[in-house]
């Protein structure tokens, strides 16, 4: 039975992703660790400040987990929200779980607490990289309607692995911001097909920024996460140089492409126009076709 990841709340995603009844929340809603700033701005708080964190098991292995609630303030990172994420990664150093799993759904920094959010994002980044440096894999699951943007888009690509559905989007700036800065010819934010070709799961999968593409189903995200447990990618000069070479090659190969369709065509996808209609399982076949060209 399919349970839509996108339509589930953060709390429900966690409950159904982890092994049944294994989740133990840290700083749950009853503790009322809420934003100290929102009330001043006349905005209601959320008892968990929009992020659910805790521990549990996945296929019997201990994991730490965080899930951002995209419906609350667009999943934006505020002071408390950010501190919960920082604490989770620091806790991982103590517990040495098989992974830290982040269900990211966020517009980035919460504007109402902009400065706290901005600093928090860099603190999360540092704590995440610290956990990775100690051999703890970090897995991002991106599949919510609000996507993963801004500071969270940066954090996502600091992780070991990224899993997405095609409902998910991963980017820095949202199309509306680009349109309002540089005009509708630069990026028509109301062209949904364009938005998804540019930032959606299928494009990220084809260009190499998403490691596993799944259907919009919590069980599919669960399977993908299980498959990535314990797989830590080292952070050292050699791996940084490899990443640098990959990113450099990408500019050489695709730097002059005007649209994702051009990238996919150049990458050897036989019928780029049909990608939008493919199932996640069919996308996998496209990638195995020509792994070298596809980043």
């Amino acid at each position: 039975m399919n349970r839509s990841f996108a339509e589930s709340t953060a709390r429900a995603r966690v409950a159904h992703l982890l092994d049944a009844d294994s989740f133990q929340e840290i700083l749950g809603p009853a503790e009322r660790v809420v934003s100290p700033h929102l009330a001043l701005l006349g905005v209601p708080s959320s008892f968990d400040d929009g992020v659910v964190i805790g521990s549990g098991t996945l296929a019997g292995q201990a994991v730490l987990i965080a899930a951002q609630e995209g419906e609350f303030m667009g999943g934006g990172v505020g002071e408390v929200h950010g501190a919960k994420l920082v604490g989770l990664f620091k806790r991982a150093l103590r517990l040495q779980p098989a992974a830290v799993i982040v269900l990211a759904e966020s517009g980035g920094v919460r504007l109402h607490e902009a400065n706290a959010g901005l600093i928090a994002v860099s603190e999360v980044m540092r704590a995440l990289l610290d956990a990775r440096a100690h051999g703890i894999p970090v897995i991002m699951l991106i599949g919510g309607d609000n996507g993963c943007f801004g500071g969270m888009g940066l954090i996502a690509r600091c992780a070991d692995h990224v899993v997405m559905s095609d409902i998910g989007r991963l980017a820095m700036s949202g199309p509306e911001v680009i349109e309002s800065s540089n005009g509708v010819e630069e990026f028509d934010s109301r062209d949904r097909a364009l938005v998804w070709r540019t930032t959606g799961g299928k494009h990220r999968f084809l260009i190499g920024d998403c490691d596993v593409l799944v259907e919009d189903d919590v069980a599919a995200f669960r399977s993908a996460a299980i498959g990535l447990l314990g797989q830590s990618i080292p952070l050292n000069l050699a791996t940084m140089e490899a990443e640098h070479a990959l990113l450099s090659d990408r500019l050489t190969q695709y730097g002059d492409c005007r649209d994702a369709l051009d990238i996919w065509r150049r990458a050897g996808v036989p019928d780029p126009a049909l990608v939008a209609d493919l199932e996640a399982s069919e996308m996998q076949a496209l990638k195995t076709r020509k792994p070298k060209e596809l980043a």
Binding site: K84, N115, A171, H203, L237, E241
Partner: protein
């Protein structure tokens, strides 16, 4: 401050930092020690190429000059707002820059950030904010978003935002706010070279910005929330 007089103030004439487009890079001597200077000028919009170019400088330093301090000079309007950069995955390029700086730090390179003109939004996260410590000139502009735009997006009256920002440094633009929040360690005035030397001489500490935020009153909860999560 313009980058040229800034470099003179920091290093005197003994520097080889040059400008290539919006990229600043080159070595300099201070108190008998060679440092690598890398950063941006001209309120640079950080696109995929510029993120990569800065990362290259950091990686070369990490590979060829173990222990050499790195000085990040920040003047940016944030990430470039173009379809092409998003298409190519600017978030990954900027994350890569951040990861390279973090690698250098882990490999015992002292990394000091200095906001000498503008630091906006995402462009700040993977540069100054990922350094061991980030400083700023008093005239620097640091912000996530201007108040009028913030008012439009949050649908909160601009007058209300302005009023609240007088007593709460949590959202409004301003370098003093970032000092209060612990994001900026201190403002540099007067003898910039002396302050750079002092910053370079400090031993690296674990991330103390939340503690600074608590001590200065700007972020009263972050440090304790983090501590509670660790020990729960």
């Amino acid at each position: 401050m313009n980058w040229e007089p800034l470099l003179l103030a920091l290093f005197g004439a003994a520097h080889r930092v040059t400008r290539d487009g919006d990229l600043l890079s080159g070595t300099a001597e201070v108190k008998g020690r060679t440092v690598m200077v890398v950063g941006t000028t001209n309120h640079a919009a950080i696109g995929v190429e510029l993120a990569l170019a800065q990362a290259r400088v950091v990686l070369d330093t990490a590979r060829e000059h173990p222990g050499r301090p790195i000085v990040l000079l920040v003047d940016t309007q944030g990430q470039r707002l173009r379809h092409r950069d998003e298409l190519l995955g600017i978030n990954r390029y900027m994350a890569h820059l951040g990861c390279c700086i973090e690698l250098a730090r882990r490999q015992q390179h002292r990394v000091i950030g200095l906001v000498y003109d503008q630091a906006l939004s995402g462009g700040f996260i993977t540069s100054g904010l990922i350094a061991d410590a980030c400083y700023a000139l008093p005239e620097a502009e640091i912000r996530v978003m201007r108040l009028p735009a913030m008012a439009r997006v949050t649908k909160i009256d601009e007058a209300r935002l302005t009023e609240l920002s007088k007593s709460n440094p949590v959202f409004a633009p301003g370098v003093e706010n970032f000092v209060a929040m612990g994001g900026i360690r201190a403002l540099w005035t007067g003898d910039l070279q002396a302050q750079l030397i002092a910053a370079l001489d400090e031993s690296p500490t674990p991330d103390q910005r939340a503690a600074d935020g608590a001590a200065r009153g700007g972020r009263q909860l972050a440090a304790q929330v983090t501590a509670r999560v660790i020990s729960a």
